[in-house]
């Protein structure tokens, strides 16, 4: 049973990655899971300058989901290159760096700075709902999303993944725009914009007022969007949003994803990334299949559109 995939030039042992912001830089989870058995590690969103993130409460539990408003707290790209990246050299798993900028130029500069060995690819975050400038603004307009992708592609030789925001009317249109701008792969979904209110204090639960919804609650929306995007583009798609088990992951593969990422599930089950991959292997065996690619997009055999 072959689980290996080549994702736009990034060779992965399994199609199961960890989603940015949910797995730290990797070592945080090393006590629980063999990092070498993950498909790829996508590290926390990195910005040019260090960011302290949002004040006040940053997470809230919701039915079968959670809201987060971390606000891209991170030590900045210099610190990442100087101190974090070297610590990841021992891990035999591709490290993909998720980047966020306030301007198109910042994205380009980040890409240039990260065009170093040890970085297997760049994931462009144009969909963070938790920061005031940039972030989601780039992710809700085709033109600015395309501009970001071009700036990044122009500054790196690495494979570039563009991560889409689900908070749009037409996700397929966004996908076509970033593909036309040269992205090597597309990942989705980032979080849905949500809000919770404390009925005793009458205040928003989150310091940032609104936050990003993730976890099982969003899975049906994520599967639908992955299906729509995979039909709209030719580049590989990485599916995520509420994956807790191999069964969930198989849904995304059938919908058209070439790989998947596990996010919120890591908080609940720190071994999720490896267990999902093992479960996919078992599923392939049960179905008499030999390679995970035999699943990709197969729902289209039946959707008749």
């Amino acid at each position: 049973m072959m689980l290996n995939v080549d994702l736009a030039g990034i060779p992965m042992k399994t199609p199961v990655m960890t989603a940015s912001g949910t797995f730290g830089f990797g070592p945080e989870y090393a006590d629980f899971v063999d990092l070498n058995r993950l498909g790829a590690i996508v590290v926390k969103g990195t910005t040019l300058k260090p960011r302290p993130g949002n004040d006040g409460r940053r997470i809230a539990e919701t039915p079968a989901g959670m809201l987060n408003a971390i606000g891209l707290e991170n030590p900045g790209v210099d610190e990442f290159l100087a101190h974090t990246l070297p610590k990841l050299q021992g891990i035999d798993t591709p490290v993909i760096v998720n980047i966020s900028g306030n301007t198109v130029e910042e994205y380009g500069e980040l890409a240039a700075r990260l065009d170093v060995s040890g970085v297997a690819g760049i994931e462009i975050n144009i969909s963070c709902p938790n920061v005031k400038e940039g972030g989601i603004a780039f992710g809700t307009s085709c033109a600015s999303a395309a501009a970001v992708v071009k700036a990044v592609k122009g500054n790196t030789a690495k494979p570039v993944i563009t991560k889409l925001s689900p908070n749009v009317t037409d996700i397929a249109e966004m996908a076509r725009a970033v593909e036309a701008a040269g992205t090597d792969a597309i990942s989705l979904i980032n979080t849905l914009l949500g809000m919770a209110i404390d009925i005793h204090s009458w205040r928003p639960v989150l310091g940032n007022v609104v936050g990003g919804l993730s976890g099982p609650a969003v899975k049906p929306v994520a599967v639908r969007m992955v299906w729509q995007v995979a039909r709209a583009v030719r580049c590989p798609v990485i599916g995520m949003g509420g994956i807790m088990t191999a069964r969930d992951a198989v849904e995304f593969l059938l919908a058209g994803a070439s790989a998947v990422a596990v996010g919120t599930a890591n908080f609940v089950n720190p071994r999720a990334g490896v267990e999902v991959a093992e479960g996919i292997r078992d599923y392939l065996a049960e179905k008499g299949l030999t390679h995970v690619r035999q699943l990709i997009g197969r729902v289209n055999d039946f959707t008749g559109r």
């Binding site: 629980f32 997470i59 908080f267």
Partner: protein, 256 residues
Amino acid sequence: MSKTVSMALVRDQKTIGPLVKLLTLEAPEIAKNARPGQFVHLRVNDGPAPLLRRPLSLAGADAGQGTLTLIYRIVGQGTALLARLKTGDRVDCMGPLGAGFDLDCERPLLVGGGMGLAPLLYLAGALCPRPVAVLMGGRSQEELFWQGLFAEACRHIHITTDDGSLGRRGVTLDLLPELLAGGEFDRVAACGPRLMLEGAGRLAARHKIACQVSLEDYMACGVGACLSCTCAGADGRRRKVCADGPVFWAGEVFAL
């Protein structure tokens, strides 16, 4: 020091105060590595709602027996689900997490409010037979079932209640200046509401006594990966309550 996630066996669960439960788990790997001040992160359910784990301080750990003691108050759906656990059940338990208390002291004063007394109970046991004093605060005498729990390990127990129904009327911070003025302590270790911790840190600093505080925050991962729980350090750098803490030197997280 290594952390694990495992299906702990419920040895026993009992009610020890109003809505307060004492849960004894068998989790040898965790018990072996645990230190006072650390916590475990529990799944309360196997379905997707409630989704997240619940952090609970270790109120005790016995490496020999392989057991952990947790003391918690039922405040919401997660703790209500935990309260249903019965002897023989299993619960998914991750730990030990976080950084514990520093034990390098001779005459410690432990200061705790409400459920903040749970980690201090473990600490008291670990510091014993050194002369441990504890200052405990609660709303009324009903909440001070803690007294019995601390009796074994502590030489002096000081109590405040909001309504004066037990010990001194007031809050811990009202009694603390007096206790510190005596000059008999070389360490303060505090756990409870933030304002209490800050106050304790300040008073201790004034008396030049090293002070550790145990913070609390909303947590998703519990291992430093998600940045849900970070707080601003006194130096401007952020700290992760779950991984750098929950126990910090007071000066690290408060401007004293």
